[in-house]
């Protein structure tokens, strides 16, 4: 064999904390932390035999030395509800690290927007740690139930928007740009689809690069099942149609490459 065989690993839960309504902060000990980069994800397998498929969860923080991964996720169904019950010293099955990650070299020395909306905020933390750039961190929340804003504040100027206007700018991350007359050379973002569409449009109007992290229902997580595809401008390399695989060709795409 010319390739090393990879496998699911068993990680140990270090701690778990509820950090906002339905949002949990799970820290696990695993060697995967050594290879994890910003924008990549791990597939976490619920123990219950009723919930078969792994849940793709973004890397919020990776501490290579301590072999620790920090996963911040929202309860979205049975699987994530199970994860939220895990306590220190429990074990969890993880496959990874998966996906391409953000092309941090594209931001080196430049003025960059890190834009996170809702449960798209967690990957911004590892990204903020890795980027050597002028970082403006734009975060969108529903209401005053904020999370990770202090962690992110260590790495750059944080701007907050809330949908109900209770904290910061009323509206979303795009309203932050307008309200503060901000500008950037490159954008890196993760969040709900309407936000990513607005960013794609904004970046095209400004003529700047935007790297957006997409989400889709996944099954295998390794590029075989073709469940999690995204329409692309160019013919994709795998199926030679216009459907790239989010799990392996992404999840991060240059906004112009994808039709969202």
């Amino acid at each position: 064999m010319d390739r090393q065989i990879k496998k699911k690993v068993t990680a140990t839960v270090v701690s778990q904390e509820r950090i906002a309504d339905q949002i949990y902060d799970l820290r696990i000990e695993t060697e995967l932390a050594r290879e994890a980069r910003a924008g990549q994800f791990v597939a976490v397998y619920p123990h219950s035999a009723a919930t078969l498929l792994p849940r793709p969860i973004s890397v919020c923080e990776a501490d290579a030395e301590a072999c620790r991964l920090r996963l911040v996720y929202r309860i979205a169904g049975r699987g994530t509800a199970e994860f939220s019950s895990y306590k220190a010293n429990d074990t969890v099955e993880v496959l990874g690290v998966l996906g391409n990650g953000f092309p941090t070299e594209r931001a080196a020395g430049r003025k960059v927007f890190l834009m996170g909306g809702g449960i798209g905020i967690p990957p911004m933390l590892q990204l903020a740690k890795e980027l050597e750039a002028e970082k403006q961190i734009l975060l969108g929340y529903r209401n005053q139930d904020l999370f990770l804003q202090d962690d992110l504040g260590q790495y750059g100027q944080v701007y907050i928007a809330t949908e109900d206007g209770s904290v910061g700018v009323a509206g979303n991350v795009m309203d932050i740009i307008r309200a503060n007359e901000l500008s950037a050379d490159v954008i890196m973002a993760c969040g709900p689809m309407p936000m990513l569409r607005a960013i794609k449009q904004y970046a095209e109007a400004q003529g700047i690069e935007a790297y957006i992290s997409l989400e889709e229902r996944m099954a295998c997580g390794v590029g075989a099942c073709l469940g999690c595809v995204c329409a692309t401008r160019d013919v994709d390399s795998h199926s030679h149609v216009h459907n790239a695989r989010i799990c392996t060709d992404g999840p991060v795409f240059e906004a112009r490459e994808v039709n969202i």
Binding site: E216, C220, G223, C230, H238, V241, H242
Partner: protein, 301 residues
């Protein structure tokens, strides 16, 4: 201990294959599985031209199973013979190519293109529930199945496996039609048509509304159909449907399958195929079975 089985003259080192559509052409899973250990790799369906597949969401989890409506996205036969066949040839395993099409001519074009390729068998997908034209339409009426099977048999240079749909009234009738038309083997079951609704959003979970159900939830249905079909025909049956362990595989063999395939469980455990192979060997040791073929149809009537 002998784990070899022979299907239509092709000898597999063990009875464990991959189920079409769950394993790509092996490339992605070769990071997790030594493909040399598999009885055969059954590829994802390939058509005469690239197919883009269905809109997303294409997959949804259900209790103990999953629905998919991928819609047979595939790169077409040109890319397949240039990229996927040479990749698989590097491994010491049998290559079974799953063929799909919208018309009989589409199928025949792919079958003819594969005639001179180093592939061991063809599996004809007349049972995908997720594409509007072709596919399942050929697999739900016995006369249509007979017709397409005979036409494919007339052109195919490799043994032909007809992959049957469980979405029929009488699986035995379908099995007999395929056998009468000259099929060399049968594989079953393809997925069972299902539906899931997100009640809070009042939306279908899949963009295609319906999808194919697979995973452990469907195993008893699959075992029953393998039993019925294998007792209705003389040609070998390849059994699949929720196989997760060596014990599950042995159950299919006892029901009458001559080989088995692992499908959705690859997503749950990338090493599922290897664990099924090891599980069969473990069963054979524990139950003093010298030859795996002793297990085929071994359930006491």
């Amino acid at each position: 201990m002998n784990t070899q089985v022979t299907i239509a003259g092709v000898t597999l080192q063990n009875p464990v294959m991959t189920a079409s559509g769950t394993f790509g052409s092996g490339m992605e899973y070769s990071d997790f599985v030594d493909l040399n250990r598999l009885g055969a790799v059954v590829t994802k369906g390939v058509a005469n031209v690239p197919w883009p597949g269905n809109p997303t969401p294409r997959v949804a989890e259900t209790y103990g199973g999953m629905l998919n409506a991928i819609g047979l996205q595939n790169p077409g036969i040109d890319v397949f013979v240039e990229r996927d066949v040479p990749f698989l040839k590097r491994y010491d395993t049998k290559i079974i190519v799953n063929v799909c099409g919208k018309t009989v001519e589409d199928y025949l074009e792919v079958v003819e293109r594969l005639g001179d390729e180093p592939v061991d068998m063809l599996e004809i997908n007349v049972s995908c529930p997720n594409v509007k034209e072709g596919a399942i339409a050929f697999g739900q009426k016995a006369d249509c199945l007979y017709d397409i099977t005979s036409q494919i048999k007339a052109k195919a240079k490799q043994p032909v496996i007809m992959k049957l749909s469980p979405n029929v009234t009488d699986i035995a009738e379908m099995a007999r039609a395929a056998e009468a038309a000259g099929a060399d083997a049968l594989s079953m079951i393809n997925t069972i048509t299902g539906m899931k609704i997100d009640i809070y959003r009042r939306r279908f979970a899949l963009a295609n509304r319906t999808g194919g159900l697979s995973g452990p939830a469907i195993k008893p249905v699959a075992v029953r159909m393998v039993y019925q079909a294998s007792h209705a025909v003389k040609i070998p049956v390849i059994g699949m449907g929720g196989i997760a362990s060596g014990e599950d595989a042995v159950e299919f063999l006892m029901a009458g399958a001559s080989a088995v395939a692992v499908g959705a469980m690859n997503f749950v455990n990338p090493r599922a195929t290897i664990e099924v192979i090891e599980g069969i060997e473990e069963y054979m040791r524990r139950c003093h079975v010298e030859n795996v073929t002793e297990l085929i149809g071994a359930v006491e009537e």
